[in-house]
């Protein structure tokens, strides 16, 4: 009997030895063939370089204020992009603020994806009352406007980097949870999963070795959108005055501070952080679109 039965492996494992390089190549080829996705990667790389390497080339004081140099316009000596209302060099502050926005956005997006993936996979795999209970919790949480929750929580606790990551992740995990749960519902009935269970495999093995790896395409694509959304959330909160305390800054809080001076025509306080937010969010969305296309089976074929 056993000699006639074909070895049961998951699709990924099945193709692992001979086909993985070609699959990866095809995926990469589709991705690199997408000009928008490549543009996204380049823009993201430039923004990362700007934020992390920029201060090495353009070193500025971003801790102590200097009221004697407040609101200098672009082109002032030593201040290519002018200064803020507290005398910080605008270009230097944009770099430092970029770190905060990117770090919080990346961390919150990854955390939300990780938690949402595991949560959705468990709900989808086990089904029944476990699924019903877990998904009703998700539905209930989705019914509450995220912005309302964020504002309430951020007003109760003092927003720090860690706290912001946690509270943004706490509202952002719902979407990946629902997506992965849908994938898990389809995957749990596949032969390789059933075979694994017949051979005595437990739920944890099924979830972490079969369900999650086979939903990875969906997860990665969703993750890029989650990061983009998280960066926007950081900006929203900062715009509402709920950002990490000064002298730290993020692009959202810079934009919020700049808006105060709209009537004075201080455009250099508004456009640079606004453009940076648009660029980073667009970059992640382009990358996400590219990855989705690359993981899409029909396109690969």
């Amino acid at each position: 009997m056993s000699t006639t039965a074909a070895p049961v492996t998951a699709p990924g494992q099945e193709e692992a030895a001979p086909a993985t390089p070609s699959l990866a190549r095809r995926t990469l080829r589709v991705f690199t063939g997408n000009k928008l996705a490549l543009t996204g990667v380049v823009v993201l790389a430039l923004l990362l370089a700007f934020s992390y390497l920029g201060p090495l080339l353009h070193s500025t004081e971003q801790i102590h204020t200097d009221l004697s140099r407040a609101n200098l316009p672009p082109g002032s000596p030593g201040h290519l992009l002018g200064t803020t209302d507290l005398g910080y060099d605008m270009l230097g502050r944009l770099m430092v603020a970029g770190r905060t926005s990117l770090e919080i956005g990346l961390a919150a997006g990854l955390l939300a994806t990780l938690f949402g993936t595991v949560y959705g996979a468990i709900a989808g795999y086990f089904g029944g009352w476990v699924d019903a209970t877990m998904m009703r919790v998700t539905d209930a949480a989705l019914a509450i406007p995220a912005m309302f929750l964020l504002v309430v929580v951020a007003a109760i606790v003092t927003p720090g980097k860690g706290v912001l990551i946690m509270i943004i992740a706490a509202v952002a995990w719902l979407s990946p949870a629902r997506l992965v749960r849908g994938e898990a519902l389809a995957l749990r009935d596949r032969e390789y999963v059933q075979a694994m269970r017949m051979m005595g495999g437990g739920g944890a093995r099924a979830v972490f070795k079969h369900i999650v790896p086979n939903a990875i395409g969906t997860v990665i694509v969703n993750c890029t959108f989650q990061i983009a959304d998280a960066i926007l959330y950081v900006s929203y909160l900062a715009f509402l005055g709920l950002s990490i305390p000064p002298p730290s800054a993020d692009w959202g809080s810079m934009l919020s501070a700049g808006i105060t001076y709209t009537q004075n025509g201080y455009w250099w306080l508004i456009f640079p952080p606004g453009i940076a937010i648009v660029l980073v969010v667009a970059a992640f969305n382009f990358i996400g679109d590219g990855l989705r296309d690359a993981f899409e089976v029909r396109l690969r074929k």
């Binding site: 801790i63 204020t65 009221l67 004697s68 507290l86 105060t260 004075n264």
Partner: protein
């Protein structure tokens, strides 16, 4: 002869600058002018989120907004108030705008005689008499816990006996001798005349009588009036509020807080207080932004702009407005919590408070962050507008911005900066040691609760944090909504739960607005209700008491100078109450530093009337 003239001129100037009235004093104000044209409507913007919700001239706790008393004082003329006399500079406790004439104190300052203006009638034709004043007194005496103006030991506790001398004169017998200036400015200004003949009923529709003359009756009458006062929706139609004696009467009071007043055609007070306008509308706004948008579209005639827009002053002037910061009779400060579980021992050290004050660059904050609409606070007595309460010594900044001096003060008392934060390296109580309760290695780290929602305040705190760090003081600023800050900044005992805050700021629109006399009994006396930081100093208590009891103006000066030096709080720039934007053809507007208003003095000038005619 020339020298005599010069001396007279100097004397006149000094009189104008320092004021000369015994009871309330004067505060210099800028002049207003123009020729009146009768008629017109003025829409005045109320401060953001200010919703008028009280009409009864006995304020209830929780309904204490200055806009409430500002509005009901137009309907019910106050007995004494900080008034600006038309065409004259300065503030006085009485004038054409008050019912009371100059009060007379006995030689021992234990009784005060209050004469009321004769010939003034209620809108139903009945005269305003001493009985109306007695009615108010008996109501607040029997219901003082429900009166927002009450604090233990003051009015009505400090009045032993209320005596009616005749129809227009009452005499208050006081529990002890008081400083007449302080008593008039801060106690007699609480007095009100209420229409006893119309309001003295225990039930709605019940007979009018002398019910207020028994404690039980006064409680019943007060309860009935309070019930009506809490019915905001019926203000416009309730006959109770139609019996007025002020220059204005109510034409509408919406639930949203929009209040419309029109001239009281039966007004019998001085001619100078008779309105020129047809109507005044007080318009509420939820946010400063919404007000700003309406102002730009011409929807308000008398509004305000955020200080950040001060740079656009010329633009508004070009559009036919004048921009005029409304300076408040206020002090602005950061409260130190002397009982803070963590920082109490540090706050107790004068040298630490001095070092911190040296690190507050008030001039730069006022000029750059507040765009010139704030002025440095140098002590408990406001430096602007100038007044008789301000001595020469108080005009001097004892703690100018000086980082080096702050560092020296800390170093001289055993603090050394390690990794950017000052730490105590010489504990003990000696002159060159850190001080009582400060242990070896203690870091100079403080937490400040600050109100959120204001760019200027956020920037000011950021600047403060930056300045303090230059001397190794690590400040953590926690921004919270105003109500949260006020809720946390309450007097507490060390190590109690909720006493873990070190500093607190709630002064975006000024921390404390004084009545006429800027005495500090509510702010800096041991155990006072608004002494949120538990400041306690025997000499401070003594000099504050002297302001209340001693008739000598030197007592106010001693109080002001001592507390300016002792730093019971961290003095911060005092922002304008608002940066007003007023239609240039609207004249007669003088912005009262005690933030009340007198629209009966406002008028449009001819240009407006012509334009209105052209529009028609």
């Amino acid at each position: 002869m020339r020298s005599l003239r010069s001396a007279a001129a100097v004397l006149l100037t000094l009189t104008a600058v320092t004021g000369c009235t015994r009871e309330g004093g004067r505060i210099d104000m800028g002049p207003t002018g123009g020729t009146p044209v009768e008629g017109g409507t003025v829409t005045m913007a109320l401060p953001p989120a200010a919703t008028p919700n009280w009409i009864f001239p006995i304020g209830a706790p929780g309904y204490g907004g200055s806009y409430n008393s500002g509005i009901y004082s137009l309907l019910f003329t106050p007995v004494y108030d900080a008034v600006q006399e038309k065409g004259k500079a300065g503030l006085a406790s009485h004038g054409p705008g008050t019912l009371g004439l100059e009060p007379a104190y006995s030689d021992d300052n234990k009784t005060v005689t209050v004469p009321l203006r004769e010939g003034v009638k209620w809108s139903d034709g009945k005269p305003v008499t001493a009985r109306d004043l007695e009615f108010w007194f008996r109501l607040v005496k029997a219901n003082k816990a429900e009166w927002a103006g009450y604090s233990v030991g003051t009015m009505p506790d400090n009045v032993k006996r209320f005596e009616t001398l005749d129809d227009h004169t009452v005499r208050l017998h006081l529990t002890r001798a008081y400083n007449p200036d302080w008593f008039t400015a801060n106690q007699l200004t609480l007095l009100r005349a209420l229409p006893q003949h119309a309001w003295d009923a225990k039930t709605d529709g019940g007979p009018i009588g002398d019910w207020d003359r028994t404690a039980e009756g006064a409680k019943a009458v007060f309860a009935r009036l309070m019930k009506h006062a809490k019915s905001l929706g019926s203000y416009g139609s309730d006959p109770l509020w139609k019996t007025v004696n002020g220059p204005w009467k109510l034409a509408g009071w919406r639930d949203s807080g929009q209040v419309t007043i029109v001239p009281n055609e039966k007004y019998t007070g001085p001619e100078s207080e008779r309105p020129h306008l047809d109507k005044v509308v007080f318009k509420p706004f939820t946010t400063a932004d919404s007000e700003y948008n309406v102002l730009r579209s011409g929807g308000v005639d008398y509004g305000y702009i955020p200080p950040s827009v001060m740079a656009q002053k010329e633009k508004f002037e070009g559009r036919g407005y004048r921009v005029d910061p409304w300076e408040g009779w206020a002090a602005t400060y950061i409260v130190y919590n002397f009982n803070s579980t963590h920082a109490g021992p540090m706050m107790d050290q004068l040298y630490i408070r001095q070092a911190m004050q040296h690190l507050v660059d008030q001039e730069a904050m006022s000029d750059v962050i507040w765009q010139g609409s704030a002025t440095p606070t140098l002590g408990p007595v406001p430096a602007k507008p100038k007044s008789q309460y301000l001595s020469e010594a108080m005009e001097e900044n004892r703690y100018p911005y000086d980082v080096a001096r702050a560092r020296r003060l800390l170093a001289a008392h055993g603090w050394r900066a390690e990794d950017g934060t000052a730490r105590c390296v010489r504990p003990g109580t000696g002159e060159d040691q850190c001080g009582k309760g400060i242990e070896q290695g203690t870091a100079l780290e403080l937490t400040l609760l600050s109100q959120s929602g204001s760019t200027e305040t956020t920037n000011m705190m950021q600047e403060l944090k930056s300045s303090l760090s230059k001397a190794g003081i690590d400040l953590t600023v926690r921004q919270q909504p105003l109500n949260s800050v006020l809720g946390s900044s309450v007097p507490c005992r060390a190590k109690d739960p909720g006493c873990d805050w070190d500093m607190s700021f709630f002064g975006t629109a000024g921390s404390w607005y004084y009545p006429l006399n800027p005495s500090g009994e509510q702010l800096f006396s041991t155990g006072a209700s608004a002494n949120f930081g538990n400041y306690s100093d025997k000499r401070a208590d003594r000099v504050i008491r002297a302001v209340q009891y001693s008739p000598d103006m030197k007592a106010v000066h001693e109080y002001g100078e001592y507390l300016a030096e002792q730093l019971p709080v961290m003095w911060m720039p005092n922002p304008a109450y608002q940066v007003s934007v007023i239609r240039n053809d609207l004249r007669g507007v003088s912005q009262n530093p005690t933030v009340s208003f007198a629209p009966q003095h406002w008028y449009y000038v001819k240009k407006h009337a012509e334009r209105k005619g052209a529009e028609k």
